[in-house]
């Protein structure tokens, strides 16, 4: 069943992506009012459910935020009535298509993966968790549907509807295991996303009051002074959804959920909704203080997230910090808002979604086999689980190595930043070197072989392997064919909005391709089987013990060789970093809202 739906999603996404865009969907027989009423009812039901959750958990903030949201939406209804006149409720352009493609391909892959993963999850790894897999998969698909709706929506109320559905799905999925920790983190995610939802609702109301319109495109193309406050509030909502400072903690806490959830919601798609919104709004806020504040939030998150990722040996936490950091970069691009920045931002979205998803899925598989999420336990994985280790290396290379995607994106971001706000480059400059540190550290851990390992019998199940191989291939192809991606999807969009677009340039593209080919040659070197090389022991002061990785210690004892990565504990402290992040982020957002109101 799942496979069937997934296949449909795949075919649909690709078919849609190959259509010319932007498309005008105004003639669709949507029966607007009926849909509008239907949405109202669903929203009401969702609101009631959330209130119930808030009351049951005695979480005052949830109740308050939900009531606030309800009040604002009621206010909107009274203002707009049923005379809502967005000519087009749905809007399809290249950017939407890219997002839909990501959602479809990546999301579909994750659903396939989840089949195999959840089977093992419930039968072996976590037998104590109640098996609610039908609900799990249903939520996954509802979520994917909501994402499709989100990226195609032009009517802000529709967008808001889908936005809230994603919030609810996230809450339910994080709390899937129903442990106290999961419940706590789910509630935290709910609170923060509700806060974003509240500002979203306020934004719609203010926008409508000023312009009597509910269209996103209208907002983007209006005069800046008119729409600055709604735009700022929408950016606020985007920041909460994308877990930027000061709201990063919900994403970090969401890692308790099963891996498909982490991959789908919290790296590839849902959090992308937040940055999608900000990038969409980029023309509306570019050049203003609001934009600058958004950029600062993004840049600060990038720096703090990257530094924090160095300090932790837990694999999913590293991935979560890295996600937050990369989203920070995209938010930075959105805040700057020039054509170059937007081009860079979309490129980042694409590459990050694919590579990070691959990494999450691999980590999930590894966690099942090793029963540990600790990077230090992954030593020698290249022998123990070679296929998965190679795919992880591909993912990590995609995240940090030139000439692969993320590096191109970072190159683009740097150029965009230097032209617009050179002082922001300090974030990128320090942050990107921090990212290098933790990725290469991890890569090294996978590759090192301290003690002989026997290959595990069955690495991954069929479903998981389809998803993983497919994603690796997509990562690889995306990197190889990114000029095509850029010219087909990104440049048309950027040119459409700004009148000009950035691009890599022929010379640089050739250089990138050459470099990629050089790096691709690397696996071929393994064919030489070490001709002319003689294997000897590593140097341990001559005290090697024959046939084992140990050495003779004092008193004739045999000591083991252990090697653990640096986590820079004396220099970087995770708690302090998060405190700084929260304080800084809150301050920046406060300034942003203030300037928007004035």
């Amino acid at each position: 069943m799942v496979v069937l739906v997934t296949a449909t999603v795949y075919v649909g996404s690709i078919a849609l992506a190959s259509q010319p865009a932007p498309m005008d969907l105004g003639d669709l027989p949507l029966g607007r009012h009926g849909i509008h009423e239907g949405m109202m009812i669903v929203e009401l039901l969702m609101g009631v459910y959330i209130l119930y959750v808030g009351v049951r958990a005695r979480h005052f903030l949830i109740v308050a935020l939900m009531l606030g949201q309800g009040a604002v939406m009621a206010w909107l209804e009274s203002l707009a009535g049923s005379g809502v006149n967005a000519a087009h409720a749905l809007f399809v352009d290249k950017f939407s298509l890219v997002m839909a493609l990501i959602n479809g391909l990546v999301g579909g892959g994750i659903c396939l993966y989840a089949l195999g993963y959840m089977r093992e999850y419930h039968t072996e790894a976590h037998r104590d968790v109640p098996d609610r897999r039908p609900l799990f998969f249903a939520l996954l698909f509802v979520f994917m549907g909501a994402m499709f709706g989100l990226v195609f929506a032009d009517d802000l109320t529709w967008l808001f509807f889908f936005w809230e559905i994603t919030t609810l799905c996230s809450f339910l999925l994080i709390g899937y295991t129903q442990t106290p920790e999961a419940r706590k983190n789910a509630l935290r995610a709910l609170v923060m996303n509700l806060a974003g939802g509240l500002t979203f609702a306020l934004a719609i109301v203010f926008f409508y009051r000023n312009t009597h319109s509910l269209g996103l495109q209208t907002l983007i193309h209006s005069k800046q002074a008119v729409v600055l406050l709604p735009a700022a509030l929408l950016c606020f909502a985007g920041i909460t959804k994308a877990a930027q400072c000061p709201f990063s903690s919900w994403l970090l806490g969401a890692m308790v959920a099963p891996t498909p959830v982490s991959a789908l919601l919290h790296s590839s798609t849902m959090v992308k909704a937040g940055v999608y919104l900000i990038i969409r709004l980029a023309p509306a806020i570019s050049g203003t203080t609001v934009g600058l504040m958004v950029a600062l939030v993004g840049g600060g998150t990038f720096l703090v997230g990257s530094l924090a990722a160095i300090t932790t040996p837990e694999a999913k936490r590293v991935l979560a910090y890295s996600t937050v950091a990369n989203l920070g970069l995209v938010v930075l691009c959105g805040g700057i808002g020039t054509y170059a920045a937007v081009w860079a931002g979309i490129l980042l979205i694409i590459f990050h979604a694919v590579a990070k998803c691959l990494l999450f899925l691999c980590v999930g598989v590894v966690e099942h086999k090793l029963h540990s999420r600790n990077i230090e336990d992954m030593s020698g994985l290249i022998l123990y689980m070679p296929r998965v280790a190679v795919m992880m290396l591909i993912g990590m290379a995609g995240m940090s190595l030139a000439p692969f995607g993320m590096l191109i994106s970072k190159w683009a971001v740097l150029r965009a930043v230097v032209d617009a706000y050179p002082l922001l480059c300090i974030f990128i400059v320090f942050g990107s070197t921090a990212t290098l540190f933790f990725w290469v550290k991890w890569m090294g851990k996978l590759v090192e072989v301290v003690r002989p390992q026997v290959r595990v019998v069955k690495e991954i199940s069929l479903d998981e392997s389809i998803a993983l191989y497919g994603l690796s291939l997509v990562t690889f192809l995306a990197c190889l064919f990114f000029p095509f991606l850029s010219s087909q999807f990104i440049e048309p969009y950027v040119t459409g909005v700004y009148g000009q677009s950035a691009f890599l340039g022929r010379g640089n593209t050739i250089i990138m391709v050459i470099m990629m080919m050089v790096v691709m040659l690397f696996p071929l070197s393994f064919l030489s089987h070490g001709r002319g090389v003689k294997l000897v022991d590593p140097y341990l002061g001559g005290a090697n013990v024959a046939g084992s990785p140990g050495f003779t210690g004092s008193g004739g004892t045999i000591e083991n060789v252990t090697m653990q990565n640096y986590y820079l504990g004396g220099v970087l402290n995770e708690i302090w970093l998060s405190r700084i992040a929260v304080a800084g982020g809150a301050a920046l957002l406060a300034v942003m809202i203030t300037f928007a109101i004035l």
């Binding site: 003689k534 000897v536 022991d537 140097y539 002061g541 001559g542 005290a543 090697n544 003779t552």
Partner: protein, 300 residues
């Protein structure tokens, strides 16, 4: 090819030295002697080194370490034993913990005498070692693909010095085993050995340009007397002795009887000889600790 002599990188290891020779070795790096002008670099890493400089006598703990480090030096490599202790055990030779000089563990190429050896002597030894290394490189290069392979061939008079040192080293190792120094091979002089070259057929086993095994055979009219079987302790139990015995048989085609003798504690060699078709025919007590066992092989 230029380069090998110009860039000797040293691994300095202190076996159980009193540190006198070590201080003299390190003094070579100081401005007064400055070996770096010869390109010498003291790397602490066997994989980077060409010359294995060992000071001090060898005790039980050092044996395994020296063997391990020797294995980690890339070919062509040279071992220089610095000081009297490294050469033969020096003044500590009779101590309960000392087994002997470095050559009972690894084949040594250059001995630098002195106690402590002077920096000038050490530098001189290193330079001599470079010449040896160049020779090894030539041998290795001329027989391509022969790295780490043992080759067997006829020894010439020029090899007498190396064979002499080898026999002494093997003899010393054996003496340690028996606790008795009376082996005749230990009293043999180089001149004696060179004289024997005229009457006997000498075979050598060579690896990476270094002689690590030797055997001699002598036809006295009705039997072939095989003696002087010496394999360096580092390469023992690798089948070299068996191969040498087979080669010496080949060298004396058509001869019907071959005889040899072996010490009573040398069980592996006895077993090997029995497998090759030798039979025990006489036993002779040499000293209270050493008994010779004579074996003979008849060929048809």
């Amino acid at each position: 090819m230029r380069g090998l002599k110009q860039s000797p990188w040293i691994l300095h290891y202190d076996a159980s030295s009193c540190n006198g020779c070590d201080i003299e070795t390190l003094a070579c790096l100081t401005p007064i002697y400055d070996v770096e002008r010869l390109g010498v670099l003291n790397t602490g890493n066997p994989k980077h080194a060409d010359i294995f400089l060992v000071t001090g006598a060898v005790n039980e703990q050092s044996k395994a370490v020296i063997q391990n480090l020797y294995r980690q030096l890339p070919e062509p490599k040279v071992v220089v034993a610095v000081g009297a202790c490294a050469a033969s055990g020096g003044i500590f030779r009779e101590c309960y913990n000392i087994s002997g000089g470095v050559d009972i563990v690894v084949p040594v190429d250059v001995y630098v005498p002195g106690c402590a050896a002077r920096p000038e002597a050490i530098i001189d030894g290193v330079v001599k070692g470079l010449a040896v290394m160049e020779e090894k490189q030539t041998i290795l290069a001329s027989a391509r693909g022969s790295i780490d392979k043992i080759t067997y061939s006829r020894a010439r008079l020029a090899d007498a010095g190396f064979i002499h040192a080898l026999r002494k080293a093997a003899g010393q190792a054996e003496a340690v085993l028996y606790g008795d120094d009376s082996f005749p091979v230990l009293d043999e002089s180089l001149q004696d050995l060179q004289n024997e070259f005229e009457q006997k057929v000498f075979l050598k086993a060579v690896i990476n340009g270094k002689i690590i095994g030797s055997i001699a055979g002598h036809w006295d009219g009705h039997t072939v007397n095989v003696d002087g079987l010496a394999v360096h302790p580092y390469f023992q139990n690798t089948g070299v002795s068996g191969r040498l015995l087979m080669e010496i048989e080949q060298a004396f085609q058509g001869m019907k009887q071959i005889e040899t003798r072996v010490g009573n504690k040398n069980e592996p060699l006895q077993k090997e000889l029995l497998e090759l078709g030798y039979q025990n025919f006489k036993t002779e007590v040499f000293t209270p600790k050493i008994t010779w066992i004579y074996l003979r092989k008849e060929r048809t």
